[in-house]
Amino acid sequence: MMHRQIPMLARCRWIAALVVMVATAFVVPTEARADEDVLENSPVVRRQLQYRESRHEVSGVVGLSLSDPFVRNVLPGIRYDYHTFDWLSIGARVLVGIPVQTAMFESVDEKVARSNETFVMEATSLRFAFLAHTSVSPVVGKLLAFDSLPINFDIHFDLIAGVVAVGSTGDNIEGTGIQFTGGAGGGLRIFISKVLAFTADLQTLVIDRPMSVNRDSKAAGGKSRFNGLALVGLSFFMPPELTRAD
């Protein structure tokens, strides 16, 4: 009989110990988890410095036309943006075109003139552009260069509409003048301080223009084309103070 009672008592103790352990497992880890998960359900980005929101941005820019075979455009200009939100801005830009003849232009001029002495090479280029745009900055981040230089940046995309003036290097091409245009672009903005930023953009505008004359010195025919531009600039932001997101 005694042999049967001792295991019963021991079993009761084991059950009691098990109950205590289970209770402890329910109580103690809950508190520990609460300590570890203090950031649970909190936003991914907190108290972010808003480099753009409610600020004016004025940029001096220089553009270069891409893939122009005969006349390459250098386009200095100015761009203005008002950033209604940190991710959205509206603005306008004015670019003035300075035509620079390429080696291809001179080569064609020289070679065609051998067979047609009256031939004078002509080609079109942009004279100015007045464009409005809205810009979205979906990517915002920060970098550390050389372990010591903090840099903030964004990647933005522009939707563009406005007017451009197409000019020619001569008088034989008709169809030049002012026309409406639209396009899109995107680029990178790198903040080197609270008020200064470098910008680099690629954009394309759809412009209906003949590229050049033909060997009979007549316009070779107009066509709507994508006119690619690469732009770099230096931006000034006002006011100089930054706000923080919640």
Partner: protein, 265 residues
Amino acid sequence: MGRFLHRILVALIAVSLCGWSLPVAAQAADEPAVKAKPKKHLSRRERRARRQRLSRELARQGEAELRKSVRVFQQKHLVKAGRLELLVGGAMGIGDSLVQNYNADVGLLFHVSDRLAVGISGSKVFAQKTEHFESIQRNFGLFPERSFVQGSGFVEAQYSPVFGKFASFGLAVLQLDGYLVAAVGGLRTTTTVDYKPAFQFGGGFRIHMLRAVTLSFELRDMVFVESFLPAKAGGDPSQNVMQHVLAGVKLGFWIPPSFSYKYQR
């Protein structure tokens, strides 16, 4: 006489004692009166509550001190040192008015450290004439000599001076690094069957999507010297420096796919 002297001595001692004792009493009178608290007997529960309150206060002060002295550094999402990166991607030429290049690229990089990598890369180039090329033929009766790149191979080195992170509308944070690249190698064009020495330099960003997969965006300028037919019969071929600016996207697959940190979180 002796008694008289004794009385004078006692009187002097009494005056001296008053002289020492009275100013002390006056100073004490200037200080706020401190009432001695009657010693309250605390119950066991009150003593425990008092101990717990003091412990909480000490813990709070300790944590505040700790926060002042401890800086938190975010772990890098991707450790590059000692790993291989197998690159697969493509690129397209930008800015060429007569020729449009499309590249299919493969490469293998060994990351010596988180900053430095060396490796090899190869490209099969699919080049085609642009509309401008056709219009020169059509409008001027000229036939520009073609120099289409067919393929290339390079030994390259990458240096990553920039590390960072970005977010999109606060949805997620991804880390990235920026790198500069320089490469030496050779390529073949349609003008001759010989391989020509070529150089590349450029830069890009590598987005650390997963610990075994990255996505790189880069811009490279490929430079080489091309020989064109002589302008006149019997003349020497003209040597022209050719440039192809290429914008590319590459997926990087990391070997081994996992890694361990030197310092645990």
